[in-house]
């Protein structure tokens, strides 16, 4: 199942936040959205998952989601959004219960996703007992449990320290390698973008418009920690964004 963004523009009152965004998200690929803060990249992600409606344009679903897909468009949030009163297992079963999946069938799915995210030993733990990296792995396990056609990741690693971020990037690459998934990945971290993105979409400052789309052909598994080519791409992205990031930083907020 592909996703197509068709001429999306958006206004908050008088302020134009997004201008004429047209973009294809092909299945099996990770598309990274980068841009200076306040360029509307998270808003765009909320349009894709149907949590908000754009002023103009539409998000189109091309084709049917694959068989066994419970929640085609599934988010992974920056703040994890785990229910603190439910255990790791309970947090995952939460999203299955509404689809009538309980008992042995649910146990099988939960055991599978916990194994894939290396959390099998922590099924009974409460979120307050887990580190930030572990919490995000639970959130990723929860997203995998509903077998999404497209994962919508809103700065999933931004709340983590840089070492945990490295580890989780490796985990995401391993997950994708085992079973390629489609994802739209919003980040402000260019290193994450060049490590995880097949396609990197650079948005300009408000009103956010597509400035450039950079494609990286090298397979995810071959992108290592300090790769010279990737460094070059990252530098190119930074030169694209540098001035705008500075301008965005100096902007006064009037919200």
């Amino acid at each position: 199942m592909d996703i197509r963004l068709d001429g999306i523009s958006h206004y908050y009152g008088e302020t134009e936040v997004l201008r004429d965004i047209t973009l294809d998200v092909p299945s099996g690929q990770i598309v990274c959205l980068v841009g200076p803060s306040g360029c509307g990249k998270s808003t765009l992600l909320r349009f894709i998952g149907g949590l908000e409606r754009p002023t103009k344009g539409a998000v189109l679903q091309m084709g049917q989601p694959p068989e066994g897909c419970l929640n085609p468009l599934t988010y992974v949030f920056q703040d994890f959004a785990l229910l603190p009163w439910r255990s790791v297992r309970g947090n995952i079963s939460l999203v299955l219960e509404d689809h009538g999946i309980r008992g042995a069938k649910a146990d099988k799915i939960i055991a599978d996703v916990l194994a894939r995210t290396k959390l099998s030993d922590f099924a009974k733990a409460l979120p307050k007992q887990l580190s930030g990296g572990m919490k995000q792995r639970v959130a990723i396990a929860r997203a995998l449990a509903v077998n999404p056609a497209v994962m919508l990741m809103d700065e999933p690693l931004s709340a983590l320290d840089s070492q945990t971020r490295e580890l989780l990037m490796d985990d995401l690459i391993a997950l994708w390698d085992r079973q390629p998934f489609t994802a739209v990945y919003v980040t402000h971290n260019l290193n994450e973008a060049v490590r995880l993105g097949h396609k990197i979409v650079v948005l300009s400052r408000r009103p956010g418009a597509i400035r450039e789309v950079v494609e990286i052909d090298r397979p995810l598994t071959e992108r290592s920690f300090a790769d010279a080519d990737l460094e070059r791409t990252q530098k190119h992205l930074w030169t694209l964004m540098r001035e705008e990031a500075r301008a965005a930083d100096e902007e006064l907020l009037d919200v």
């Binding site: 929640n71 229910l83 409460l126 307050k128």
Partner: protein, 278 residues
């Protein structure tokens, strides 16, 4: 602040190159548990009154002797009168307070969830909150009759308003990002309310209940003072009109204990239900 300790006099000025330990200045301003402090305060206070009344510098008209109050309590228990008063009081408290709390929580959740209900009921609740409910007892007697039901109604009405306010505040405070998460996973409206909103509002609802139950005890006594044969309020009123200080204080002690027990019970529920809190 209570933990502030007296620091020893500042060390003498050191020679320029001499090693000197950095003075610790991070103490105090942290609440630490001191289990033995509360019993000590109680014991000292009661001992002071006991000694005062025995030696005579507190006249027996001002305060009863604590040992006499205890003797009255024991006698009350032995004669079986204790339960004659306690059982009707507890029944009124249980029926009235649970009625008020259940209706209050339901209305509070509705206000939190539906903006039309909020717009309609929040001003109404604000209008009835400051009314002294005891002033309405004559009205309740006419509406519900002189017997138990007017007392239930008074207590229920008194617990209702603080519960409503606490509950809708608690629903408002539920983390919006969790609700958004529920929506993004396609959970039904009912599931979001039951599995995300209600558990998330639980801490606020329980702390509101603590206040509501204290108000319920106050209203219980007020209702019983205005018209009841039995009950702790009636017992206190009778003792007061005879200026029987021992019995008056025995009744007051029972009320205090009731307050401590309900507050302890809620603490117990909080520890069981809200173990997930950090």
């Amino acid at each position: 602040m209570s933990d502030a300790t007296l620091h020893s006099a500042p060390p003498p000025a050191a020679a320029p190159n001499e090693a000197m330990e950095i003075r610790f200045r991070g103490g105090g301003f942290v609440a630490k548990p001191h289990r033995w402090m509360a019993p000590i305060v109680f014991v000292v206070l009661i001992a002071f009154i006991e000694i005062g009344t025995r030696s005579g510098f507190i006249s027996s008209l001002t305060l009863p002797r604590p040992s006499d109050v205890l003797a009255t309590l024991v006698q009350l228990y032995k004669s079986g009168q204790l339960f004659e008063h306690l059982v009707p009081s507890l029944t009124r408290l249980a029926v009235g307070a649970s009625l008020g709390a259940i209706v209050g929580i339901s209305v509070g959740v509705m206000i939190g969830l539906f903006s039309y209900v909020r717009a309609g009921l929040v001003p109404l609740v604000a209008a009835i909150f400051p009314i002294p409910k005891i002033a309405l007892l004559p009205l309740f007697v006419i509406w519900f009759g002189i017997d138990e039901s007017s007392k239930y109604a008074l207590i229920a009405f008194g617990t209702f308003t603080p519960t409503v306010v606490a509950t809708y505040g608690a629903v408002d405070n539920v983390d919006r990002s969790l609700i958004r998460m529920g929506q993004s996973f396609g959970l039904s409206w009912f599931s979001i309310v039951r599995k995300i909103v209600l558990p998330g509002a639980m801490p606020g609802i329980l702390s509101g209940l603590r206040i509501s139950l204290a108000i319920a005890i106050i209203l219980l006594v007020a209702a019983e003072m205005l018209g009841a044969q039995h009950g702790i309020g009636a017992y206190i009123l009778e003792a007061g009109s005879l200026y029987d200080l021992e019995r008056l204080f025995a009744g007051v002690v029972i009320l205090s204990l009731l307050g401590v027990i309900t507050s302890g019970a809620i603490g117990l529920i909080e520890r069981r239900v809200l173990g997930w809190r950090t």
